[in-house]
Amino acid sequence: MKTENKKAIQKELQELGSALNAPGKEAGFKVPEGYFDELPGKIQGRLEGSTNIVQFRKPVASSRQVFAWAASLLILVALGISLFLMRSDNDIDYVALDEQYIDFEYLQAQAYFDQDMIYQLIMDSDISAEEILYNMDADILADDEFDYDEIMEMILEEARYFGIESEYLLSSLY
C-alpha cells in the first residue's frame, strides 16, 4: 500500500510540475540507537509510575454545545447557494447579510470557535472570507489562541487558487 502511495505522490508532484522528489523517510532526522526498542518500556514505566489508574477527561464540549455548533453549521450550509471560492471578483453578494450577522453572533458565542472552524466555514459555505472577517468580534481576533495571520494566509492561498486576486480580498478587508 505504501509503494502505491509513493507512486501516487510522485505522480502528483509531476502533475504539479514540481521538481521535488518523493522523499526518503528520515530525511536527516535521527534517533538515539535502540530508541524504538526502549520506548515501549518508557511508556510502561510512566503508566506504572502514575498514581491515577485510569482517569477519563471531562469532555471538552457539552452535548448541548456540540448540538449548538452543529445547528449553526447547518444554518450556514443552508445559506449556501454557490461557494465563495467559485465567485468572480465582480459578483460578491451581500444578500442575507442580516441573517449572517445572526449566525456570526451565534458562532462567536461558541466556546470552541477557532481558526479551523473559520477555515471550514469558508470551504463549506457561501459566506465569503471578507464577510467572515469583517463580522468577527475584535475580542476573538485579539485572543492569543487565534492565529489571524495563519488564517489570512490560508484564505489568500485559497483565493489565489481559485483565481481571486489577493489585492481584491485585502482591499475589501481593510
Partner: protein, 180 residues
C-alpha cells in the same frame, strides 16, 4: 512476530488482555507516530516526551474508544493535537510573534544533535518550517508519511478538496524556496 490487525488488538483489549493489547498497539504505531510528531516539533527530546504523552492518552481513552474511526486515524489525531498544542504553548511561553516560531524551530533544527541532514535536506526542512502550521502538517502527512487524502481528511476533519488545495500550495512554496 505476528502483526495484529487493529480489530484484533481492540478485541484483545476488550477481552481483558489490556496490557498485552496496549503493548502491541505501542509497538505497531510508535515509529509512525514518533516521526509524525518529530517533523512538527523538530527536537528529538520534545518528540520523545510527546510520543509518550500520546500513548498515555491512548491508554486512558482506549476503554471508551467506540471504533467510530479506525484506531490508526484516532491515534494520529491525538498525536496531531498534542504536537500542535505543544507548539501553541511554546509560542505563548516565549511570547513569539507569528512567524517567529518557524525561526525558533529552525534554530532547534540546527542545534539538534539528532538531526544530520545534508545541505539539500536542511534547505528542504527550512522551507517546510516556513509554511503556516496547518499547511506544514498537511505537507508532512502527504509528502513524508505518504498518507492518502481520505485518511488525512478523517484525522484532520477537513475536506479532501481543502487538503489537496493546501498541499498543492505547500508544494509550490517549498519548491520555490528550495530552488531559490
Amino acid at each position: 512476530m505476528k502483526q495484529y490487525t487493529d480489530d484484533e488488538l481492540l478485541e484483545k483489549f476488550r477481552a481483558g488482555q489490556t496490557d498485552m493489547a496496549f503493548g502491541l498497539i505501542v509497538k505497531k504505531y510508535q515509529e509512525s507516530i514518533y516521526w509524525h510528531i518529530r517533523r512538527l516539533v523538530i527536537s528529538h527530546e520534545d518528540a520523545n516526551d510527546l510520543v509518550q504523552d500520546v500513548f498515555i492518552k491512548v491508554w486512558e481513552a482506549l476503554p471508551k474508544f467506540r471504533g467510530d474511526s479506525a484506531l490508526y486515524t484516532w491515534i494520529y489525531r491525538i498525536a496531531t493535537n498534542e504536537a500542535l498544542s505543544f507548539l501553541k504553548k511554546k509560542k505563548r511561553r516565549y511570547l513569539l510573534p507569528v512567524g517567529d516560531l518557524s525561526k525558533q524551530l529552525e534554530e532547534t533544527l540546527e542545534a539538534d544533535v539528532y538531526y544530520q541532514g545534508n545541505e539539500m535536506e536542511k534547505k528542504l526542512q527550512k522551507a517546510i518550517l516556513a509554511l503556516p502550521e496547518k499547511q506544514r502538517v498537511i505537507f508532512n502527512m502527504r509528502y513524508f508519511h505518504e498518507m492518502k487524502y481520505e485518511t488525512m481528511s478523517e484525522i484532520l476533519d477537513t475536506s479532501v478538496g481543502a487538503l489537496k488545495a493546501s498541499y498543492h500550495h505547500a508544494v509550490k512554496k517549498v519548491e520555490k524556496s528550495v530552488v531559490s
